[in-house]
Amino acid sequence: MSLNEDELIKAAQAGDRDAFCLLAESYQRRVYLLALHYCRDASDAEDLSQEVWLKAFRALGGFRNEASFYTWLRQIIVNSFLNHRRTAARRWANNTSAVDIETLTETNDANGWTVPRSRDAEGDIHTKILLERVLEALGELTPQQRLIFLLKHREGLTYEEIAKAFNCSTGTAKKALFRAVVKLRQRLGVEVVETTEYEPCAAGKNF
């Protein structure tokens, strides 16, 4: 018999760990992905996301159903992320080796011969390389900028919610978000293409 979220929450509040694990399964991918983008390391992401769940289990008694469970959980995520002592930053800073595309596009068959991967596998590899670049680019952001970007882009929080979570003004949150996106663009090497169809405005010249 499957229980809905409210029933799982009540059971978990009563100390049922299995119910809490079922509840966690509903959101674990989302939390893990956030942690991965924040930490930029798989093992750190696992640790951090599980830390979030442990804190949530301990604090579940204080959940009053005034907001959705995930909204309540998000505040724990933000606090846990900001308090997280990251050690992977040094690892990423030192990891300057480029991905060897030749080794990634080849694989060994049953006889041990090296054969090229399929076209889909090549696409996957391309995506993985892109992911590495994205994670590296995220490393250029400050932890606050990174988290603000993730909360806005991945979680869809409003500026008011972000400002409340970071105890700052909405203007500050908006500026931090803009800087974060510009830094990501620069790091990812996305070019700014100015179309020649339009004449630049007068204000744009002085920008």
């Binding site: 760990r17 674990q28 994205v134 990501l184 293409v193 100015e194 339009y198 405005c201 744009g204």
Partner: protein
Amino acid sequence: MHNCRKVEKQIVDLLFDDTDARFKRRLLAEIEGCAYCLGQYQSLSDTLFVFERTTEAALPPGDYWPGYNATLRARLNAPVQAIHEEKAVRAPFWRRLFAARLPVPVPVAAALVVGLIVSSALAFRRVPAGQTSLAPSSPSTASVRIVEIPVAQEKIVTRVVYVEKKQSAERVQRQLLPAVAGTNETTDSTIAGHKTEEETGFFTRANLKGFQPADDMKIRVLKRNNTNDK
């Protein structure tokens, strides 16, 4: 009038779809009218698109999650074990004392064990015959030998001398007279007189007859402390 700086601040709202529909249409129209702003908007949109494209690849494969859940369950059960351990700590002191653990590095522990073994072996080792032990188990039975040492003895001699004052005065007179009459006669008579006095027992000088002085002399100073002795 179009202002790129102002639009740039609003591009963020457009990127994250944080505006109402009317404002969005108006802003898009304004951006399309400016090459610089359009370029900015497109590049920032592309950045988000690249980020979004990698999201799926960032997720671990499906066989990862059972292990993740098992780890989470184990961590959730860990506090229960911690509570049990805490209760064990609250046991009586003697039980805690026996259950106490002290984390010691292996080399240090090995050195301590070796030292203990060596010291206990030295302590319980039997002393061979003919060797004296540093810590004797029974009291010593040394033989007593009496040695006589010569010591300088002190000897006190006390003689009581009675002097008759009258005769003594006459004797002084007789000694003075020969100096007036003549030296030879006086000498003989004096010697004769002395003999007579000696025989009659009136010889009053200190008689040290039979006195033998001690080998060593020791001077003793007697002080009169008592006023009645005056």
